[in-house]
Amino acid sequence: MAHENHGKVDAVTGVATTGHSWDDIEELNNPLPRWWLWTFYLCIVWAIAYCIVYPAWPLVSSYTKGAFGWHSRDAVEVELAALKDQRSGMTAKLAASSLDEIKQDPEMFAFARAQGKASFGDNCAPCHGAGGGGAKGYPNLNDDDWLWGGSLEQVHKTIQFGARSTSDQGHSGSMPAFGRDGMLKREEISQVADFVRSLSGLPTEKGIDLAAGAKVFADNCAACHGDKGQGMQEMGAPNLSDKIWLFGSDKAIIIEGLNNGRGGVMPAWHGRLDDTTIKALTLYVHSLGGELNR
């Protein structure tokens, strides 16, 4: 469809124009170079060959698979295998070393922390949070308070076998349901709840009999939580005299725990994750906060 001025000849160059004019600047109708045309044909050939060689066209319930069965999933697996192979030296070293040896070796420690961080994101973050910040009922792994102990060996054991888990090597011991099971009366529970708050210097309700609370505590709680409420890691009994509260420090929350008991579950990872990964996780978690309990 030629323009009305199509074929007009440009005076300066002597070349015919397409007739298109923008602010009196006219488009010369120069021929395209022949090689450009061949390049264009070559691109078409390339595109057709590509469709034959690689997966390309969607079908109703499938797609064309390509001549050589290339699959992006296979390509990823090859790359993952190569990555694993590349790391195998370090992984073997980690497997053969004790936790302390790994910690003393900066190169191994850095590798373990990086691997542990990745594994933490995959396995632990749903409960403990992306950075191990914890949530109500799920311990914060960045602080200096450890229910089952914060040393490398203790953290290792907790990750391996869990707490109140299906593993018979896991930590056991839970907070009894003093109210529900009728061990303590409603008034006693209220008294001991206020007494517990007073252990860490929190204000108590006016007119409450703290001495009675202390008596209830000594009779019922001190066996696990210690006579000063300092906690006991063998039983997983929290320290009640510090500023860290797993479920919260409100009186209502404490009463809820006294009535119904507490017993959060940490699964056992032994058998689900390989030993090297658990070692790496231990070093990572320990470096978040446990590290400083030296």
Binding site: A16, W36, D144, L292
Partner: protein, 486 residues
């Protein structure tokens, strides 16, 4: 340019008959001798010499660094340029270099048009070299044109074969030199020769062999006319003062045969110096007729100046009928006005000024470049942690880069939060409460730093500052961050 004579043979062609595609018009540039040709040979020798030999220059940096003067170490993320070593986070030096290169191109353009195209561009230099080989093996313009018209004889075929062989050798070496910039040159040459070099080296040599052979052997001037954006940009950037290879039609026209113009001159009639010998067209590597005036295809290599001058010498006419001049001055001479030659004008002063400023900034930043580097990143989750005693702790990931070529010990301190306690995972705390970090030569170390407040009473956000200092030299760098609390 309207005054310039124009070939009008095409003007009569019917536009409807114009072909959509046209084959390339084969160009057979003739050999030429002269001042500009000599300059071009020298530039060719220097630029190619630099390109092919630079990777072999050694530069001693001590035991922990490569001794190659120019090396792009992709595996370790380092760029070495004589006494300069650049880390990946310092690529702005490259940006600076590119800005300088662009400005230098603009300045060149403002002074003398497409000097870059005519003398320095790799496309021009390699094409020039390939033409030289072609001329050496197959003979000069006339001989080549004759051979291409006649039936192919065994002798000509052999010559053409030899030409392509030499071209491929040059192209191969071009690719070979390229990969040497990315690895220790002598080692890589040995590995390449004994077929032990990594596959990627051979692939890159293959790619550059192909591009050099194709672009310099076949595409040639079409790269400039069809592919390169610079001729278009250049036309928009230039002005009437910029010197260009110019046919001085004020003394060239009316052109005519030597004898005819001799007669006219004796009769006192107007007669130009141009004898229409077409030597300027014969030597042109892009096949243009410079007498048509400034045009996009002309790369302004100046070879037509040499060709014309050799003719002017023979016919005893003044030299420089084609010369570095401006269209404006040609018109001025015709109209009897004085010529204007202005190299120092706002445009050139502006470009030179910016070049000086950017250059000074780059030299300054290089001179003040620190070999100590600290980055601090606050934990995003959790932002803060309450400890058993009620105090608040924040976690940070720090990176310490040691850009020296020996191991260094650094001390990290924090200020801005009174009574703050510093702790580090992957380092030690000394008796003064500083975190001591050892970083190996030319390495980066990542560590986890924990800052704890004294007591529970902390504002929600406090500005804090980390100071990292080299324990031996006292070099110091500071980074600011925040201490977060509930």
């Amino acid at each position: 340019m309207a005054e310039a004579p124009v070939s009008s043979s095409l003007a009569t062609a019917k536009a409807e008959d114009a072909p959509l595609y046209a084959p390339r018009k084969q160009i057979y540039p003739q050999a030429v001798k002269g001042r500009l040709r000599t300059i071009k040979w020298i530039v060719l020798a220097i630029t190619l010499g630099i390109y092919y030999l630079l990777p072999f220059i050694r530069w001693d940096r001590g035991p922990n660094a490569p001794d190659q003067a120019i090396l792009v170490d992709l595996a370790n993320g380092r760029f070495y340029f004589f006494f300069i070593e650049i880390w990946p986070q310092e690529v702005y030096y490259f940006t600076g270099l590119l800005v300088l290169a662009a400005l230098a191109l603009f300045l060149m353009n403002a002074v003398a048009g497409r000097v870059w195209c005519g003398y320095l561009c790799p496309q021009t230099v390699w094409t020039d070299l390939f033409y030289a080989v072609e001329r050496w093996v197959e003979g000069d313009r006339r001989e080549r044109m004759r051979h291409d018209k006649e039936k192919l004889t065994l002798k000509v075929a052999a010559r053409k074969g030899l030409k392509h062989f030499i071209w491929l050798m040059i192209a191969w070496w071009t690719g070979g030199a390229w990969v040497l910039y990315f690895s220790d040159a002598p080692t890589l040459v040995y590995d390449l020769a004994t077929f032990q070099a990594p596959m990627v080296a051979y692939i890159w040599i293959g790619i550059l062999t192909f591009t050099t052979y194709t672009l310099a052997g076949f595409m040639r001037e079409q790269v400039c006319t069809y592919m390169c954006p610079w001729p278009r940009i250049q036309a928009a950037l230039t002005d009437e003062y910029a010197l260009n290879v110019t046919y001085r039609y004020d003394r060239g026209e009316p052109r005519g045969s030597m004898k005819k113009n001799e007669v006219l001159r004796k009769q006192g009639l107007p007669a130009g110096d141009c004898i229409d010998c077409d030597q300027c067209v014969a030597v042109c590597p892009t096949g243009v007729d410079i007498r048509k005036g400034l045009q996009l295809d002309c790369i302004q290599c100046g070879l037509c100046i040499d060709a014309c001058n050799s003719v002017m010498e023979k016919i005893n006419r003044p030299l420089n009928l084609i010369a570095y001049d401006t269209d404006m001055n040609v018109k001025a001479r015709i109209e009897g006005r004085p010529e204007v030659r202005k190299i120092v004008r706002p445009r050139t002063v502006f470009y030179a000024g910016i070049i000086a400023i950017v250059g000074a900034v780059m030299i300054g930043s290089l001179a003040m470049r620190q070999t100590i580097y600290l980055s601090v990143m606050h934990d995003r989750n959790p932002l803060f942690v309450r400890l058993s005693d009620g105090s608040i702790r924040n976690g940070f990931t720090i990176r310490v880069a040691n850009k020296n070529l020996d191991e260094r010990s650094y001390a990290l301190t924090v200020d801005g939060l009174s009574g703050a306690k510093l702790d580090i995972v992957g380092g030690e705390i000394d008796q003064q409460g500083r975190a001591v970090i050892k970083v190996g030569p030319d390495q980066t170390l990542e560590a986890r730093v924990l800052v704890s407040s004294h007591g529970a009473d902390v504002p929600a956000s406090t500005d804090i500052h980390f100071t990292l200092s080299d324990i031996v030299t006292g070099d110091t760098t500071r980074m600011s961050d925040y201490f977060k609390a509930p």
